[in-house]
Symmetry: C2
Subunit: 720 residues, 2 copies
């Protein structure tokens, strides 16, 4: 009887904090009772093991998540995660984004965009002790940063001795723990199937982050390996990868109240930020970032007009800019209306009181709390300038020339001492970036972006300015825009970095060769180098200091939260996590309820024929025909398109498989709702909702509209 | 047992057609079983009797509805129905619209706007036979129209023999029936209480026709009569009118699913229009009307800028223009997306089939159906020109000068032969209009409106042009805008009709005096007179022809509908009707449910401090305090602000009392939702929703915010 009582108590405590939590897989056995009570039927421990089903079917695309859904390496992800690859294979004459694409057999599959990878996580090892033991108290500031960096690189290098693997050391809880993650790196990835934009991007930017939603945001890749089963470069001789396991796809789907869990790679949350950081973020950083994004969007739209070749190149960049401009705007609005700051202030005050309440606790944590506060305050001094310079990075000519010169500098050092991103292991990715630029860069547009942010920079007070940057562009106290434009025009006319072969030719050159170059973009990189290094060094010193203060404070926060029975899971950091919850709608505002499902009916309602509400004629005809093929939701009587759940997700989770209690795929996570996206800082159980493509819609569209029978027969579909 | 069976059958048939219907009070006893089953507890027959409670508490304001809520003539209506009176008493220094107004005692009450009336319907008599017996088959076209007109005037004149009454003959079902309605006309109406615009107009044009809604759209008038209890002109000696009955106000309100009924004066619906008329309306008339409204709004906003004295004058006109521009837009959108035309086409085809199915029916109705079709088609030939000339009527100088000259002409005839609107009984209302113009007219703005529509007119093909109008403004084949503007400027400079006393001085003058006048606006009226008369005569001929065809077709439609067990009630025509239904939300689109109640919480959510989302500080403080004073909805735990029901209403119903099954006032109807307003043509049970101010909100605001204790103690409030 006691055991039951205990289970009930645990359940109550957890239910009280809703379904918040992006759990590390190894934490799941602790949650077994809750998961079971919510509807999980498989063993919770099985999800904790990365080498077992279902975790070994979940893969990373680097920035997005996917999952294997066949024994021949077929992987499903979001349309927006495969967008770059669809775009890569598109031309004005054969626009695969617009028309969609389906390979009817393996030979018709198309290479994904350069640099596309599939990562299968194979192991996660706690390396905290190995790193911490090297961190003597004497190591402070930059030295401490460098030591941590050195240890990380060393662990990665040892791990990557086996060919075909990619390893990374991730810090958790701001450096309280470190884990080494080892992933199989599959580098021959091919595009198999993507529905037309009228399905995959239905609703576009207008519906982005919104409910009700009707987006068929899914696409299929296939992983290929060499004949020996090992990762290999693209080759006609390669064969489909046989994954360790794959997910069955449910044709029955979910209903309101059903248990769901999402396995994936959430990118970044800031749930444990201090009240000061949150305030600074929402009143300084985000409003400015939103403005810079909107300005960049306006510039691109102006100089790469609708329907032009240039616009095709900037489509993906525009989508990224707009996506987060809207995200930031949503967060700022919720922040201004809601109680986030008050809650953060209250939390910090309570934490303080809790720390002060016990002398030992006070002695241990009080000083470090003050340290953290000082460090965070110091960071804000030049943040507005730094933000402008970050957005100046959207001018690809200058960010590329700087990266090329940095590579030359780093390559002077032994490989293990080079900066991350410039080691031998990074070279392929580096070159892929240089190639990709050809499809997303137009000098005339790039110039306007550079000009815009240089003008913003030039309007900064004197003490914020960088002498090297002023000199490079001849910026005076008062900026003469015409002169600046003339100077930039000369640079863009004279540089050869606009040419892909020329860019690639600079990989492997020495700093001396850069110094001799007459290319003005490279001269700029050389001129800025010392300043860039000074800033980087200062940032590393700051990071080294934070690596002392932050983990200590997090230790206090964790202890405090545990004392309050609040969930303790680390902030998202791009590593594999599990989140669970139930299918449910929400109340976005007084008088309005959002239902948990949308249906085919809504597609017809929204369809105008004009992008982004341009459902394909074949789909509209199939809807009108009412042939739901057994994919309908029993109560709704039609095929559900998207559904809501309260699982706890963020960017990076895109494409994650949504599973039912039996670990069958019932959907793909692809978005969160605008009312809940402040959740990255402040989770609200009433408004935190994730949006999923319903597996029934995906199957219906494949069977009844796109004729993807070849893929359906390859997948294992659960029909009852 | 048979009786019960029958009752069930009736119930089922009616339930199947939802709660559609704007019933004539005398029809209610037929609906007794349904009404009782839905929740009516008082006797249905009692509602049929206009001289009994509750019907004799329901009053017309002419265009709006109100109801007596105290034994001292206190009447409650919508804020937007009393808007003109609030505006009339406002100055830039003492802006009652903005601040609200409350008379703490009778002496502080303010005269309503000139011409404000309260009409108490006392009797409704079927006069169909009296009119029809005069309509010999020989009477055709204009003669037939004139005969009907003569009979109507005669009946009215006989009825109005008793002083203090206003009578009107209304046609039902397109002339199939005629009813003479006799109303007590109270002409001393005073403004008692109106909340601040931040309550009464909260949400403004943005929220107009929308849900979720949070508008406190209510205001109070008081009816005054002479010491003898009879209607009298305004006088300090007048006393409050003692109404035959008054409504109790419920502090308990309604809950989801509760029975409600609305008693009021719906203006006009077109549910029985033919498919041809509907198509013409939605593809020709409404799109053009919407455009003309938007253009007029833009002109007024440009020439009477925000914050100017001129803008204050045009506030009410702007509100009216915007109200229906949005209404038309909503209807057009629903028409384009929905199945209205298909349903109308199907209905006409089924009606045809039904008529053709029986030889006697075919012989009786087929020819008249064809007649109606021809008549309706003929009407469309000049409709676009006529629409432009109608909107030219927004130029008040010219519409006023025409009316003045017309009056002079009519006054040459014996009173009983004068055109409606120009008889002795109309004179007071006529003068009130001339006075009201002073508060809603600005020559510079008026000129722009005239210029705009004359330009549109001048762009019409030659065969649509009117020689007299061309000549009056010197319009040529090609219009020279500068010349036209110059001509108009001269007219506006020279006319004296811009002066109230001058306008009034022309009432009672002879046509000869007009002919001698050098006032260019009057010269215009004289010049256009013959053309105007020709058009009117043609319109009367058409109306005379329709008065044969339409009632016959309606007879067929009614028989057909009855055969289908569809509800048969006449289209709204400004007469007293009863509609019933239940409190319920709806699904405006796929994935979204609108709840039936909004609450105080939503006011705080919407409040920005900027008009129209500027809740008064005192209200926000009261909300924050959470002192709901027993007015909260038990399940919602807070005060409901507005609620939805499926009662069947339209413009003119504004201000109507919403009653529960005991005939207690639980709300005031003030709007319909945009998704349902096509209901004027095509009722959709899923989307037809009316919006009501909740009586609990009204009482809470009065008690907790506005301190209207004097009125609360005057009203009978039902607290349990």
């Amino acid at each position: 009887m006691k055991k039951t009582m205990l289970a009930v108590l645990v359940l109550t405590a957890t239910a009280a904090v809703a379904d918040e939590g992006m759990w590390q897989p190894h934490q799941l056995p602790e949650l077994e009772a809750v998961l079971k009570s919510k509807g999980l039927t498989i063993d919770a421990a099985s999800i904790a093991d990365l080498t077992r089903f279902p975790m070994n079917a979940v893969i990373s695309l680097g920035g997005c998540t996917a999952s294997f859904v066949s024994k021949q390496g077929l992987a499903v992800t979001n349309h927006h995660c495969a967008y770059g690859s669809i775009q890569h294979n598109s031309t004005a004459q054969n626009n695969l984004i617009e028309q969609g694409f389906l390979a009817k057999s393996l030979v018709g599959e198309l290479p994904a965009a350069p640099g596309s990878k599939i990562f299968v996580t194979e192991s996660v090892s706690n390396v905290t002790q190995q790193i911490k033991q090297e961190l003597t108290p004497q190591l402070q500031g930059k030295d401490r940063f460098d030591k941590i960096d050195e240890m990380r690189k060393q662990l990665v290098a040892e791990c990557e001795v086996t060919p075909g693997y990619r390893c990374e050391v991730y810090s958790f809880h701001g450096g309280l723990e470190y884990y080494l993650i080892k992933q199989l790196e599959i580098r021959d990835v091919r595009l198999v199937y993507a529905p037309a934009a009228g399905v995959g991007v239905f609703g576009g930017d207008i519906d982005n982050w919104m409910w009700p939603r009707h987006t068929g945001d899914y696409a299929f890749y296939r992983a290929y390996v060499g004949a020996d089963g090992k990762p290999a470069d693209f080759s006609a001789d390669n064969v489909p990868f046989v994954p360790p396991s794959s997910l069955k796809v449910s044709a029955k789907g979910v209903q309101e109240g059903d248990f769901v869990m999402v396995l994936g790679y959430p990118g970044r949350t800031n749930r444990y930020n201090t009240a000061f950081e949150v305030k600074n973020q929402f009143t300084e950083i985000l409003p400015a970032s939103k403005t810079y994004r909107e300005q960049t969007i306006a510039l691109i739209k102006q100089h790469a007009p609708e329907g032009s070749e240039q616009r095709v190149k900037y489509q993906s960049i525009l989508a990224g800019l707009a996506n987060y401009a809207k995200n930031f705007d949503g967060m700022i609005q919720t922040y201004q209306k809601g109680g986030t700051q008050a809650r953060k202030d209250a939390f910090d005050a309570e934490l303080q009181r809790w720390i002060d309440a016990e002398p030992a606790r006070k002695a241990k944590y009080k000083p470090v709390l003050l340290d953290l506060q000082k460090l965070l305050q110091a960071e804000t001094a030049t943040q507005q300038r730094d933000l402008i310079l970050n957005y100046f990075g959207y001018a690809q000519l200058f960010s590329t020339s700087r990266k090329l010169y940095r590579l030359a500098q780093e390559q002077q050092k032994p490989d293990e001492l080079r900066e991350s991103g410039y080691q031998s292991r990074d070279l392929e990715r580096f070159k892929a970036g240089l190639k990709r630029m050809s499809r997303s860069f137009e000098p005339a547009v790039d110039l306007e972006i550079a000009l815009h942010f240089l003008k913003l920079y030039a309007a900064l007070p004197k003490d914020q300015r960088l002498a090297a940057l002023d000199q490079a562009f001849g910026l005076q106290e008062q900026t003469d825009e015409a002169l600046l434009r003339e100077r930039l025009t000369q640079i863009y006319q004279a540089t050869t970095l606009t040419d892909e072969a020329e860019r690639l030719a600079w990989v492997g050159k020495t700093p001396a060769e850069f110094l001799e170059s007459k290319d003005p973009a490279l001269q700029f990189a050389v001129a800025l180098y010392d300043t860039d290094m000074q800033h980087e060094s200062a940032a590393k010193t700051q990071a080294g200091k934070l690596s002392v203060a932050r983990p200590k404070v997090m230790e206090a926060v964790i202890a405090f939260n545990k004392a309050q029975q609040k969930p303790v899971y680390p902030d998202a950091n791009g590593t594999l996590r599990v989140t669970y919850g139930t299918v449910q709608g929400y109340q976005p505002k007084d008088g309005v309820t959002y239902q948990p499902f949308t249906t085919l009916k809504g597609i017809t309602e929204k369809h105008t024929g004009v992008e982004p509400f341009n459902a394909p004629a074949a789909q509209l005809a199939a809807i009108a025909k009412g042939d739901f093929g057994g994919y309908q939701h029993p109560a709704l009587g039609t095929v559900p398109v998207n559904f809501l759940s309260n699982v706890d997700t963020t960017g990076g989770n895109s494409g994650s498989p949504t599973l039912n209690g039996k670990a069958e795929l019932v959907g793909l996570l692809f978005d969160g709702v605008i009312e809940g996206i402040i959740g990255n800082y402040d989770y609200d159980p009433a408004l935190n909702r994730s949006i999923h493509v319903d597996s029934r819609y995906l199957l219906w569209q494949m069977e009844k509209v796109d004729g993807a029978g070849n893929l359906l027969s390859e997948m294992e579909i659960v029909r009852d």
